[in-house]
């Protein structure tokens, strides 16, 4: 399942809900990302996340489908905040369930790499020194490219590029 949330995300509740639909899974991996409290030596005062419907939703849904194709998953959950957040607030919750732990670890890792580099969001970080738009780091693109290398395929264009 997937949802964009305009209200606070509660990871422990999200995990409890996820546990109700494990379908006999033996291993669950979850990732939670939080608004960092400090950036480049300045205190962060807030984070604002903008989405573009329906591109954001269709892109994430395609990434979930890709994960389900690559790994034998019994359940997947992606909850992502939009709007204004405070330092320490959860931004994203990803959970994956599988019979064994390795598919769960890899699928959660894959989904996070997708979310960090390809998901249609724009992030504005507010600090005591001013506002700054955050774009993916070089490491994020490198992490993302691991999944291309694995299939032996060249780096794909974003999945929502229209064929001409």
């Amino acid at each position: 399942m997937f949802a964009l949330l305009e209200t606070p995300l509660l990871p422990s509740e999200a995990l409890a809900t996820f546990e109700t639909r494990l379908n006999g899974a033996g291993g669950v991996v979850s990732f939670v990302g939080y608004v960092r409290p400090e950036a480049h030596g300045s205190d962060v005062t807030g984070l604002s996340l903008q989405a573009y419907s329906p591109l954001t939703e269709t892109g994430i849904e395609r990434a979930i489908t890709e994960a389900e194709t690559r790994w034998p998953l019994k359940a997947v959950s992606v909850l992502h905040r939009i709007g204004d957040m405070a330092p320490g607030d959860p931004i994203v919750f990803v959970a994956t369930a599988s019979a064994h732990r390795r598919p769960s670890f890899e699928a959660a890792d894959f989904l996070m790499d997708y979310l960090k580099t390809d998901a249609v969001f724009w992030k504005k970080e507010l600090t005591e020194k001013g506002a700054r738009w955050i774009e993916p780091r070089a490491e994020d693109y490198q992490d993302r490219s691991r999944w291309d290398a694995q299939t032996g395929e060249p780096r794909k264009a974003p999945t929502h590029v229209r064929n001409q």
């Binding site: 990302g33 996340l49 903008q50 573009y52 329906p54 591109l55 992502h80 931004i91 994203v92 996070m112 979310l115 960090k116 580099t117 390809d118 998901a119 249609v120 969001f121 724009w122 992030k123 504005k124 738009w133 955050i134 774009e135 993916p136 994020d140 974003p158 929502h160 590029v161 229209r162 001409q164």
Partner: protein, 82 residues
């Protein structure tokens, strides 16, 4: 009229998240649109930056792609959530 949408850091330059424009007849693809807005608005290359992708009617397209009045055309700087 075409609907133009600006996201993320672009709005720092455009000052707005969206606007309606009447496309001149010779502005009929995404590359021409980027050039036309650059000249018209003097946005210091913000929209001609190749890292800024364009979506037509909610689908990301490569340059140049055909556009027409009636389209919703979104300018998307590099994305990333999580």
């Amino acid at each position: 009229m075409a609907e133009l949408l600006y996201f993320g850091r672009l709005t720092d330059v455009t000052g707005t998240g969206g606007e309606e424009v009447s496309l001149p007849s010779d502005v009929n693809d995404t590359s021409a649109l980027r050039q036309w807005l650059e000249i018209e608005r003097g946005w210091h290359g913000t929209l001609t930056d190749p890292s800024v992708r364009i979506a037509i009617n909610d689908e990301i397209v490569p340059d140049p792609s055909e556009i027409a009045n009636g389209d919703r055309i979104a300018f998307l700087p590099p994305v990333g959530g999580g």
